[in-house]
Amino acid sequence: MSDLILYNVTNGLIIGAFYVLMALGLSLILNLSGVINFAHGGFLALGGYFAYTIAPYVGFWAALLIAPILVALVGLVIERTLIYRLYGRDPLYSLLLTFGLAFIFEDLTRAIWGATGLPFTIPAFLSQPVSEHFFFVTRYRLFMVAVVTVAVGGLFLFLRFSRLGVRIRAGTFDLDTVSSLGVNVRALRSFNFALGIFLAGLAGVLAGGQLSLEPTMGASLLMPSFVAIIVGGVGSLPGTLLGGLLIGVAAGLTTVFWPSASEAVIYVMMAVVLLLRPRGLLGEEGLLS
């Protein structure tokens, strides 16, 4: 029993790590631009497929870095051509626009790479289990957690200490003031958008090695990411991190006792949080609401 619990908690933490990468990207974009990016799952899938396509030429390790950068570039183009037009308008419109984009993404990935799952080969030494007893902890899983940790740590250091990062955080609270201090807000938002998409792309490459590649692989991570943001508190990136891990573990634990409720449990958690602490665990009152 304790092994089963350990197994599912580990599983939950790993899934939680995906939620975190995905939700942090969504959060960044939501905080600075007020856009709920419905196409985020599409970007994630694109990351996986890009890696699948370029890995035979450049190898797994290079693909791990290059694929997310390519996805971020696609994101940048879309932001600069379409999404920027909707800044400052009713959020309804950016929601609908990215919703339409999600349709297009899913359809195009299906048209290009096919609807059936594609295997994404990871280096052989990563697919070994760590030990015989903990057979479920493959090296790849540890590796994923390590990559996510580095990415999230890097992001937080960047936001804390770099000039650009400080501006992004400041913009979350008061974009007008940031703008009047001479910061090019337009460029800041574009960079921030691309940064969020980079994280989605990275999650896509990692997910590709764990599951198989499917056009809808990102869409199924989208809703839990929303929940992670709401549980953690809209506007707070540490909150999003905490929320993602919490709901991952909660879903993992529920799998032990009541498997068919494992998806619904995170929404129950969200309801409880909204009831007891409407702004979320680490959220600021009044932000974006």
Binding site: L30, G34, I36, F38, L82, R85, L86, R89, D90, P91, L92, Y93, L95, L96, L97, F99, G100, L101, A102, F103, I104, E106, D107, L108, A111, M223, F226, V227, I229, I230, V234, S260, A261, E263, A264, Y267, V268, M270, A271, L274, L275, P278, L288, S289
Partner: protein, 332 residues
């Protein structure tokens, strides 16, 4: 004022005449009866959403949940509890309405993007329940094993099961009840208060209007009407499946409302008609219809954000002829 009222009555008469005559003209424009019924059902759903979106100023992106609850409630009632189609509809509406009332109480204090996000996320709960509770809902395969039953009036029955045209009129009657109720509500002091909240929430609050209660009631009513649409949808197909509850369906309902013009009462019906016909046409034409639908979303948002009925067409015409064309999205 008198003139205005007369215009309004004439427009209303024209719309209802058009709807009543659907069986006469729909075959001539290449449609079929079920398509017409589908437009009515989704039109009712979009108008219900618009009660909240267009007339209260609150965006719910999770209305598919209540649409689906209405469908499952009606379907299950017919399958397990009753032989009466109207009674089954009532049960579906109750299920959706109660769920809306309970969740509405949880989310009513949120606003804007936050409100939209919470509604999306809560909507998914019901999707997973329908998807996972195999023994009751049929899971991924959907709910089967029920049929709409002929209406029994004691003295005679109306066979809405085998005669599509009779079913169309049944749906039209239900549509009339739903839309009529919404129209009356919006013309009542309560409806005027909702408009006040939409226009300026802070001012409404300063005037002593209990804003949260009003939004909650508007949300709940909107869920009731969208459940009715969902129930009718289950009757139309004699089937309900989990995708009806998914957020994709919510997005489509929002799109219909915006497409037709969300500041107009009848806009969403027009939006639903355009959307349903377009979807029907595109999916028969190409396997990549999702891309086209997505592209329509994008173009719509960028160039016709106020919808077909919200556009000032004469101004648009002049600006297209004039040298200094103004982008329609910018005319606020």
């Amino acid at each position: 004022m008198m003139e205005n009222d007369r215009q309004r009555m004439m427009r209303l008469g024209a719309i209802w005449l058009l709807l009543l005559a659907v069986p006469l003209w729909v075959p001539f424009v290449g449609g079929y009866m079920a398509l017409g019924t589908r437009v009515l059902v989704l039109g009712l759903a979009a108008m219900s959403l618009n009660f909240l979106l267009g007339f209260t100023g609150v965006l719910s992106f999770g209305h598919a949940a209540y649409f689906g609850l209405g469908a499952y409630g009606t379907g299950l009632a017919l399958k397990l509890l009753t032989n009466s189609t109207p009674l089954a509809l009532v049960m579906g509406v109750l299920l959706g309405g109660v769920a809306g009332a309970v969740l509405g109480a949880l989310i009513v204090r949120r606003r804007g993007v936050y409100f939209a996000m919470v509604t999306i996320a809560f909507g998914q709960v019901f999707y997973f329940i329908a998807y996972r509770w195999n023994t009751l809902t049929g899971g991924d395969d959907g709910l089967r094993g029920f049929e709409r039953q002929p209406l029994d009036f004691g003295v005679g029955t109306i066979d809405i099961l085998h005669k599509p045209i009779l079913f169309y009129y049944f749906v039209l009657a239900m549509f009339g009840i739903g839309v009529g109720a919404m129209g009356l509500l919006l013309r009542s002091p309560f409806g005027r208060t909702l408009l006040a909240i939409r226009e300026n929430e802070r001012r409404a609050r300063f005037l002593g209007i209990p804003v949260e209660q009003h939004i909650w009631l508007s949300f709940t009513l909107s869920c009731v009407f969208v459940s009715l649409a969902g129930g009718l949808n289950a009757l139309l197909n004699n089937f309900a499946d989990p995708t009806m509850l998914n957020y994709t369906q919510s997005g489509e309902i929002v799109m219909m409302a915006v497409l037709g013009g969300m500041r107009r009462f009848w806009g969403p019906l027009l939006g639903a008609a355009v959307f349903v016909v377009l979807q029907d046409y595109l999916s028969s034409l190409t396997t990549n219809w999702m891309s086209f639908l997505g592209a329509i979303f994008v173009l719509m948002v960028l160039f016709f954000p106020r919808g077909v009925l919200g556009m000032n067409w004469t101004e648009m015409f002049h600006s297209m002829r004039g040298s200094k064309a103004q982008r329609p999205g910018d005319t606020a």
